[in-house]
């Protein structure tokens, strides 16, 4: 069981991810949402978050900068990128910045289960 923070500038995608987590049979308690990295940093304050799912390409603060800010605060919560970005270099940069893994959009609930099952 765990609380999940979904960070994506598309409200449609946040709803799809939220629905897919439950369809995948993952043990999720509360789901929080944020539209970019800045909103996500605010959303994390005072909450117990067990898993962060973040897009990369977002306005104001993108996913890579967001990961760096989270890790700079000493927060070790697993961060999995859910993104249209499939390039090897950009995903390496995400991992070296502190991301745990990545999931390519579009995805299926089964793919979410496979990647996230061990984190929740």
């Amino acid at each position: 069981m765990g609380n999940v923070l979904i960070v994506d500038d598309s409200s449609t995608m946040r709803k799809i991810i939220s629905r897919s987590l439950r369809q995948a049979g993952l043990q999720v308690d509360d789901i929080y949402e944020a539209g970019d990295g800045i909103e996500a940093l605010s959303a994390m304050e005072g909450k117990s978050i067990d898993l962060i799912l973040s897009d990369i390409n977002m306005p104001n603060m993108d996913g890579l900068e967001f990961i760096k800010c989270v890790r700079a605060k000493g927060v070790s919560t697993p961060i999995v990128m859910i993104t249209t970005e499939g390039g090897e270099d950009i995903l390496k940069e995400a991992i070296s910045s502190g991301a745990s893994d990545s999931i390519k959009k579009p995805f299926t609930p089964d793919q979410l289960n496979e990647k996230l099952g061990g984190l929740l």
Partner: protein
């Protein structure tokens, strides 16, 4: 007939039909997994389409070693049907939800195109999606000749996915 120019074909080692095939497969996969719709394609389109009536257009730009625009053009009724399927709720007006859904589809398709053009993902940037809608509008860009436009249908409704590309130095 429209086509991608020879410079693009040479740089990507892809013929127009190969690139079109990639966009067709990407579009079908996005619609199959995220919209729960099976699509039929009818490539190639014989004449360019730049004028749209009661439609919604989602676009994402590519900038870097290649520049270009990936676009999806839908009649309003079809855009609402796409959005309803993605959100799992009935949508009966073109507003924020439809704009967001069309933008996200353009974003996912742009990601596929970036993946075949980019060496590792850092040499091409995807823009934040742009969505326009209206009673009558036209969409024009750099050159009408450097493009591939693919018609798709689902339950007798047709929409278009277009890709315009230019190789930068």
């Amino acid at each position: 007939m429209m086509s991608l120019n020879q410079e693009i074909a040479h740089a990507t080692h892809l013929q127009e039909a190969d690139l079109a095939s990639y966009v067709i497969n990407a579009t079908k996969e996005v619609f199959d997994t995220m919209v729960m719709m099976a699509l039929e394609d009818s490539y190639p389109l014989k004449e360019p389409v730049t004028s749209f009536h009661c439609s919604v257009t989602g676009m994402v730009g590519l900038a870097g070693t290649y520049t270009g625009i990936l676009s999806i053009h839908c009649p309003r009724s079809f855009a609402m049907r796409i959005t309803s399927n993605m959100l799992g709720m009935d949508i009966d007006e073109v507003g924020e939800d439809v704009n967001d859904a069309l933008g996200e589809i353009a974003n996912m398709l742009g990601g596929y195109v970036k993946q075949i053009l980019s060496k590792g993902g850092l040499d091409i940037n995807l823009s934040i999606p742009t969505v326009i809608s209206g009673e009558d509008y036209t969409v024009n860009s750099m050159s009408d000749s450097d493009c591939v436009i693919i018609p798709f249908t689902n339950e007798n409704e047709r929409f278009l996915v277009g890709l315009k590309l230019r190789k930068e130095v």
